[in-house]
């Protein structure tokens, strides 16, 4: 437990992603089984001990510390696990007495709600403050130390020099402490046997199409839909829905779990039905509507009725026991088209191929695609197999040109990591009417990318020289600078005073030359809303 506690502590105080990766990788290399497997499970949020909850520890503390002092302390510290670890009466802890994670797991899994209050103190008494913090975090889940599951898996892959796609592929079929995974990656054993399990297959991804052109006899074009990319997997009648990062989101979209009538792995875009958008191409609502369904563990009946989800299919990876990934795209597409009549059209449709005479014709079609839930075009090499990750030359995304608007810099905030001494996050606004007739600026978005280091230095200097007010790490600045801001789309939003929210805003150009009263008005931005 001590090494794990040291790892957690180091991660808490590290902001750099690379450093976090290095810390986790070193721990995984140096720690024996099964402790490292349990640690990996904890970092990826995959452990659960039903008899132990945050409240269990809270109650233990209230028996040992005056409840008023507990509450005052908890309010100040802001984290129950940390408050409990700090307030636990210090015993005579010695390092040889510290339990291994395996022992902790054994104890925690054997606990009942009745035995927890007598058994947990025995563990806590054997640990120092860092150890207690780690134990409570481990036992109650939810580390909240700035490490995502994906980051932990990437660290695992780096640690043993295997590909993270392969790790993802096995991940959902295995259970903590992942003995087969370590046997394969760390000790050169056979890959884990994952047949007959509804596991995730890493997605094939696309590179942006820069200034190249492609020959349409080699590439097929498809719309790029604005939902979330998903993989629906059915094996032996068990169905799972995975997000792009490989997270199991089955519980969020229960309506999709019993509609695939055959064992298969399909790749598509999850959207919700809507009438506002889609026109003749299909009844999809915007991403904004879908967003209301994301991130929920439980879904109400009302939500299921009002925002029903469906999958617009792009590809098929496995079909009734056959792995199609080695086949070319055209053959997989033929298989997908052939299987479509067997899928209920209430929950599935087919992403249509965009027919064009040649590349310039395609460019013309793309240019007219501002409507609809369309992000642009996908170009897929006709003979390419389905390969995990981003391989050059196989798939391209050709996003439509971003929308542009001129905004005025209003607030700046310090960045983090190597930018922590720079004001690098900018909030900008548009005029709520005619600036010459006394209209005000209302914030419309925030961006922290799209400029060079040299420009950042110049912006930082400007912020410091034109500061009007300070609010903690935020400075309000004089309205002197115009940003040309690029964004993918804009939606109405009740959370913002301006009534709208941009997607993916970034600084496109800094208009040092442009007077602020020539910046755009809110009306211009509102006219671009597509909800």
């Amino acid at each position: 437990m001590e090494e794990f506690a040291a790892l957690l502590n180091a991660l808490v105080y590290t902001t750099s992603r690379n450093r976090k990766l290095a810390l986790i990788a070193a721990y995984l290399r140096e720690t024996p089984d099964p402790d490292r497997g349990w640690a990996l499970a904890a970092l990826t949020g995959s452990v659960d001990f039903p008899a132990v909850k945050a409240n269990t520890f809270r109650n233990l503390l209230k028996e040992r510390v005056d409840p008023v002092l507990w509450t005052l302390s908890r309010d100040f510290v802001g984290d129950t696990a940390e408050t409990a670890s700090l307030l636990w009466p210090e015993g005579s802890t010695s390092s040889e007495n510290s339990p291994s994670i395996a022992e902790v797991v054994e104890t925690l899994s054997s606990l009942t709600r009745a035995s927890a209050p007598t058994e947990l103190p025995k563990l806590l008494d054997r640990l120092d403050e860092n150890g207690r913090f780690a134990l409570i975090k481990f036992a109650t889940g939810g580390m909240r130390i700035g490490v995502s599951a994906r980051l932990a898996k990437t660290a695992f892959a780096q640690s043993f020099d295997v590909s993270v796609e392969e790790v993802e592929e096995y991940w959902h079929a295995l259970e903590p402490p992942y003995a087969e995974l370590f046997a394969w990656a760390a000790d050169g054993g056979d890959p884990p046997d994952v047949t007959n399990r509804p596991m995730f297959r890493p997605f094939m991804l696309a590179h942006p199409l820069e200034d190249e052109e492609v020959d349409l006899s080699d590439y097929a074009a498809e719309w790029k839909w604005d939902g979330i990319r998903v993989q629906l997997v059915r094996v032996n009648g068990q169905t799972r829905l995975y997000s792009r990062s490989g997270d199991d989101i089955s519980a969020t979209f229960p309506e999709l779990l019993d509609v695939l009538p055959i064992d298969a792995v399909v790749d598509g875009e999850l959207m919700v039905r809507g009438s506002v958008q889609g026109g003749e191409i299909g009844g999809a609502a915007s991403f904004n509507a879908l967003q209301q369904r994301l991130g929920r563990k439980k879904v109400s009946k009302k939500m299921l009725a009002e925002l029903p989800a469906f999958v617009r299919l792009y590809d098929v990876l496995l079909l009734e026991g056959e792995d199609l990934r080695e086949l070319g795209w055209e053959q997989r597409r033929a298989a997908l088209e052939a299987v479509m009549p067997r899928l209920p059209n209430s929950h599935f449709d087919l992403s249509q191929i965009v027919a064009a005479r040649d590349f310039s014709h395609l460019a013309e079609i793309r240019g007219g695609a501002r409507e609809d839930a369309i992000e642009g075009l996908m170009l897929k090499r006709r003979d390419a197999p389905y390969i995990a990750g981003r391989k050059v030359g196989l798939w391209y995304k050709w996003k439509r040109d971003p929308l542009l608007v001129d905004c005025v810099l209003m607030y700046a905030q310090r960045g983090s990591g190597r930018r922590s001494s720079f004001y690098s996050d900018y909030t900008f606004g548009c005029w709520d009417g005619d600036p010459d007739a006394g209209a005000e600026l209302l914030p419309v978005g925030k961006a922290y990318s799209g400029f060079t280091d040299a420009e950042l230095k110049k912006l930082d200097k400007l912020v410091r020289q034109t500061t009007l007010n300070r609010f903690g790490p935020v400075r309000e600045v004089e309205r002197t600078l115009v940003f040309e801001v690029a964004f993918d789309s804009v939606h109405s939003s009740k959370r913002h005073k301006s009534g709208l929210a941009m997607r993916f805003p970034r600084i496109h150009r800094i208009r040092w030359d442009k007077p602020v009263h020539e910046a755009d008005r809110l009306d211009n931005l509102r006219s671009l809303i597509r909800d």
Partner: protein, 329 residues
């Protein structure tokens, strides 16, 4: 805090005719009083930091500085006697004992009980009313032994010879204590300083505190500081001043570092739990030792210490002070 029969103030936040000052930190000491009564060290610190004169319409007039040594007593108006005793907080810091009509009141100012090579150690003064600070008045605050924190700092320094470790520390007291403790731990390399800290270090040295070889960051080459410790004010570390340092690892010496969230908020990579204030155990043990008939609590988290007194059936009350920074240390 006003001493009504003597028409004097202790650590007033605005200019007054007569002020008793416990120590030189900005939330206790300020310039411009008609008369300032403090230890000679505190007066020297104030002379370095603040404009001590007052405006009388005919330009600046030097104010009167009245030094009182530790153990010394001064008679104030209204039959009040004031004596100064070490508080162990920073150089020159004092508790003030007020005696009037047979009653004894001790104002601790800021204090700590631990050994500090840069200042005199706290003395327990028996009294009827004990007015204690409570900056770290929560049971989560238990400061570890400073040796442990020094070992942590030196360990990180030697593990990263191509970087520097930049320690954020208040310019008065904390910075000098960290340097003195580094020397005591056997670290005799030059230590690089922010300008604001250097001035105060010189004053400490004039008062007999040996701090070893000190250099100014402003005079150094970036690469020369690799593998060395830099001591700077916390504000400088978060600001562009820090761009002149070679790949700094940001450390912070403060009692608040005991709480992970506080360290993360400030972007601290190496938290050093070093405080010049009494921790929870020191606060409560001191009340037990002094054993006053009444305890008044100021400066910080009064509520928890008040609760503690209540649990021990001690008579206590909280004094709300105006204009105190929540987390000044």
């Amino acid at each position: 805090m006003q001493i009504v029969p003597a028409d004097c103030w202790i650590d007033p936040g605005r200019a007054v005719d007569c002020a008793l000052v416990t120590h030189g930190h900005a939330d206790h000491a300020r310039g411009g009083h008609g008369e300032t009564i403090a230890t000679p060290e505190t007066l020297a610190i104030m002379a370095l930091r603040y404009r001590t004169g007052i405006e009388n319409g005919e330009g600046e007039m030097p104010s009167k500085a009245t030094p009182v040594q530790y153990g010394g007593t001064i008679s104030l108006a209204g039959g009040v006697k004031a004596s100064f005793f070490p508080a162990g907080h920073v150089l020159g810091s004092a508790q003030i004992l007020l005696e009037h009509a047979g009653e004894r009141v001790v104002i601790t100012g800021d204090y700590k009980r631990r050994h500090d090579p840069t200042c005199a150690t706290f003395e327990v003064i028996p009294c009827d009313v004990f007015i204690t600070e409570a900056t770290f008045g929560l049971p989560v605050f238990v400061h570890p032994p400073i040796e442990q924190e020094m070992a942590k700092l030196l360990g990180v320094l030697s593990a990263n010879p191509d970087q520097c470790v930049a320690v954020g520390a208040y310019a008065l007291g904390k910075a000098q204590r960290v340097i003195a403790e580094l020397r005591a731990a056997g670290h005799h390399q030059p230590i690089y300083l922010h300008g604001a800290i250097e001035k105060m270090c010189r004053l400490y040295e004039e008062h007999g505190v040996d701090l070893g070889e000190l250099r100014l960051v402003a005079d150094a080459n970036k690469d020369d500081m690799r593998g060395h410790i830099v001591v700077a004010t916390p504000a400088a570390l978060n600001d562009r001043w820090s761009r002149r340092l070679p790949d700094p690892i940001t450390a912070m010496a403060s009692g608040w570092m005991r709480v992970r969230g506080r360290a993360r908020q400030r972007g601290v990579e190496l938290p050093l739990i070093i405080s010049d204030h009494a921790d929870w155990n020191e606060l409560t043990n001191t009340i037990l030792e002094v054993n006053p008939s009444e305890t008044w609590i100021t400066h910080g988290r009064e509520e928890a210490l008040l609760r503690w007194c209540e649990l021990g059936q001690r008579k206590a009350r909280a004094l709300a002070m105006v204009g105190r920074e929540e987390e000044a240390e």
